[in-house]
Symmetry: C2
Subunit: 212 residues, 2 copies
Amino acid sequence: MNANEVLESLEWRYATKVFDANKQIPLDKWHVLQESLHLSPSSLGLQMWKFIEVDCSQLRQELRGASWDQSQVTDASKLVVFCARKSFTHEDVMDHLNRIAQVRGVAIESLDVYKSRILDLVESKSPEVLKAWLERQVYIALGFMMSSAAMLRVDTCALEGIDPSAYDRILGLEDSPYYTLCALALGYRAESDSYATMQKVRFDIKKVIEAR
Amino acid sequence: MNANEVLESLEWRYATKVFDANKQIPLDKWHVLQESLHLSPSSLGLQMWKFIEVDCSQLRQELRGASWDQSQVTDASKLVVFCARKSFTHEDVMDHLNRIAQVRGVAIESLDVYKSRILDLVESKSPEVLKAWLERQVYIALGFMMSSAAMLRVDTCALEGIDPSAYDRILGLEDSPYYTLCALALGYRAESDSYATMQKVRFDIKKVIEAR
């Protein structure tokens, strides 16, 4: 992909307010968008997240009620709920190390130095710092998926204005290790979405990026 | 860009440990990568962030000392430091609204409803919740830039293992409204980087993405 194509994709993207409820994301593109979550970077590759794809229209309707009735929740082709971990324990670190050993065909003992490094890092954080760190990782995946969608000319709208506790209840997360942070609607803009043609508002680039 | 090309870009990406210090990102690609930050989505479009591009080799050397001597800090073609805001005030909201009025050529008064909505949202958050929210937005931009770089076949390595306070001191941020969260090195992998050919480790996609 050349520089101009990437720039055009970034400029094409906007926070879609009205989705065309009749247009679905083709399966080949959706698989790649799922992979954009699956392959997203995370600190130390720990993948301390969960993504919930909500396809059931009844659940979507309930979630809309917990989202200030925003139509994107029901009308977009896809809805993904981004969840963070409530905690991160020794067992979670071992899950990751076991997976490395399995995928790369190495002995788990060969990862001892790496294991100590991760455990030191995780255990040195206070509960508040740990929580903020785990949550930030989920937002890397959010940015990763939104950018990938733009490259595929799939529209998105990130939804932070939701009731996360109600989401947790509706999705049955209350007794799970995860909780809701935000959601992302994906699909295609409706012709009636007036936001599509509004001028994008950004500060001057020199205000946002400083040189040293 | 078709689905396969995006997937190939995502699979091509890895956390580069050794950069080729002689290979520079061409200017046209770098401008697009700067735009990936500038055009990144943020909550309500508030752009509550600062990105510092560190080109001075002396500063890079100092930052390396505050980064566990990781070679990426000095050897990558580019280094961007991702900063969050220390606070977010009424004045910041007005900066944003004035910019909307300016870019879209509308009267500032026409944004009164939107203004109340933003102020309600910002002022309803406790200091801790506000801080975490501001920080998470910066990570959207991090994901956005890493994905855009992969599309352009530019290598990246996110650096969280740094001393943020030392970064603030070295970059002169202590008396500014911003503080360091993390950094991103961008450039080209060295032939000697053994991580480039290691099998990527991910949990089974069904463990990461659940359907409802």
